[in-house]
Symmetry: C2
Subunit: 385 residues, 2 copies
């Protein structure tokens, strides 16, 4: 640590003040940790819960330096930040977790995948050009940097679509995996290399928007798939020398040559992740508390499941704009085991993540059924400002 | 409701901004409820998490009116408030839960006990004077109003101590119950009379200070005692026509004439309570979230236990003063299943409640053992400002 501290007094600087930063700040309040967020918005979701919000661009060296000077540890809740300047700060002795180096690798999906492949971790076949890839269409094209929530991904049915549906900028191509299931492994790694892994979860995506709509904890998968997914995910975070909470999204597929299920790494997020929101209710340590523990060099908490949990995202309805309003709030709160989470975003838009709910029940089937009820009851619309 | 609302937009006014108000505000943030606290301190524990803190005395009609005008619902986190003015506001159409009437009854322990006795709820024998009580010494003398955490209570060994150790002001006398155990029943009641009860807990008090040091959930008591405690507690809250979360503290004693265990009501708190802090981790709905649901007229949440939990209070060390510092923080966080809660009070003093920790484990014996470890590791001292 560049600055010594006693408790309370440990201050964490967070690049970004969105819902992930917000939920980190709430846990920090409980744990006696002070938080300062840097966010371009004057009124980001973390505003009401952080000790201080600095308004500024996440690429502005002056603002990042200001944040660093006030904190003992720096972290981020979004990957789109000035990694180069974070590296400069690191050489000046500032503590930054995950390290700018791991972030830089993750920011470039092509570099990330190359590193995993070199470490013999299973990834779908990929190459810079579709000719190099040498696989039959359909193929997936991805931008190397900047994509999220389905942005920066294009599925190309045949060679003619490379011209018509191809992406701009630096891209690469990979096999369109015919997966049966998408799962995620959420884990934390401390500066000393200690890891703590939560039970593996299933992720359900909207086929149209590719936004995650539902997460089911634990995943309904055979033990050998779970073990393989955990092995691969710990390997991936070790290869990245990651410190903090990481989410590894994986495909489970039956389509390899000998018919045995295979597990393939899709993407890695170097931070708390939508697939881990269920941990607030469903685990002894939430992903946000765990991230604080990990990046502050504190002992990791127990990742034991307390009860099966299903999380659904509350997204802005198609066409919604203006001030958000919640329909079905009271009815949803009548669902047993339901916890409601609102992110306090001042504006709603189509598919924007406005909040989430988690249903926690003694058995997963009930949690799934009740989460579907909540999904049907709750809609987020907008009204004129 | 005097003011209509849509969600988000429901605003709760809270008289008091101490640790209970703070923990209400944290849950409110999650649930999309706006909070405004009134507190005499410029920097109360709720400051960093409430949407607004008004500085002012809890007996000042002008300040209470200001709070009420900004909110759809009023509640309180401390009993020492201007009940008379709240009654005036209620007649003006403001929604206040628990009602000023129930609060008024609870504020006067003599009136409270009289009401319970009239409803055939079990209370220790009591009377205005020790002569009326007509029981052998030792006896307990209590002030009718204003006592808490052992203040306002005196144990008198014999008649001569009535003069030497007797309390000032309006008091009453009651039997010194030779109890085996102190337990608490935490429950919520909605405006429509729906109740939700958490598992009964054991409370452990420091014999010297009479401050609660440890709470053990669930209580290790026979099922018939648990059922009787719940029956009596629901009865007490119904008699008070209570709305919100209530904690009923009871004595369990073997000392009645036929040797069967008896359950006696000791005190009722008309708000979330120290005996319910464990619900943040150990139950599907925390007492703070449930209080918000109840006073806002929303459906009550599930009070199911997720895992056995033991809570210990973090109190200022004897002689501690100045800026608080935490010793043993990192070591305590290594205890499996431990959650750390800090209240952000700017000054520490002897026995002041500065925070708490909860240890949640698959079995209660482990939770108890680990909570004792935490108790030994953690000390809260002070340093000069």
């Amino acid at each position: 640590m560049k600055h010594p501290y006693t408790m309370p007094g440990l201050t964490l600087g967070i690049l970004g003040g969105g819902q992930l930063g917000r939920m980190m700040c709430i846990e920090a309040r409980r744990m006696g940790i002070t938080t300062i967020c840097l966010d371009p918005s004057p009124n980001p979701p973390a505003k009401g819960v952080a000790d201080l919000c600095i308004q500024g661009d996440l690429y502005d060296p002056v603002k990042i330096q200001e944040l660093a000077e006030k904190a003992q540890v720096l972290t981020f809740e979004i990957e789109h930040v000035n990694t180069g300047y974070l590296q400069t700060l690191e050489t000046q002795g500032f503590t930054i977790y995950p390290s700018p180096k791991s972030l830089q690798v993750i920011q470039d999906k092509f570099v990330q995948k190359t590193l995993f492949a070199q470490a013999n971790l299973p990834v779908p076949p990929f190459a810079r050009t579709y000719k190099e890839l040498n696989l039959p269409f359909p193929l997936v094209q991805k931008t190397r940097t900047g994509g999220y929530d389905g942005r920066g991904v294009s599925i190309l049915a045949d060679e003619t679509q490379v011209a018509t549906k191809g992406l701009e900028g630096e891209t690469f191509f990979e096999e369109l995996v015919d997966f049966d299931l998408e799962i995620a492994v959420l884990l934390a790694r401390s500066p000393s290399g200690e890891t703590a892994v939560w039970p593996v979860v299933e992720m359900v995506f909207d086929p149209a928007t590719q936004i995650c709509t539902k997460v089911c904890a634990p995943a309904r998968i055979p033990a050998e798939i779970e073990q393989e997914a955990i092995r691969v995910s710990i390997g991936a975070v070790q290869v990245l020398d990651g410190v903090g909470v990481f989410a590894v999204e994986l495909f489970v597929s039956n389509s390899n040559s000998n018919g045995a299920p295979r597990v393939l790494i899709n993407e890695v997020a170097p931070r708390p992740h939508n697939s881990g929101h269920w941990t607030i209710e469903g685990s002894l340590t939430s992903q946000f508390a765990q991230h604080l523990r990990a990046v502050c060099g504190l002992p990791l908490g127990s990742t034991d499941l307390t009860m099966p949990s299903v999380m659904i995202n509350l997204l802005g309805e198609p066409g919604a704009q203006g001030k958000p309003t919640i329909q079905g709030y009271e009815q949803a709160l009548a669902i047993p085991g339901l916890s409601f989470h609102w992110y306090e975003k001042s504006l709603v838009s189509t598919q924007r993540k406005m909040g989430h709910v988690t249903v926690t029940r003694p058995n997963l089937e009930d949690a799934l059924r009740l989460a579907d009820q909540a999904q049907n009851l709750l809609t987020i619309t907008g009204e004129p400002l």
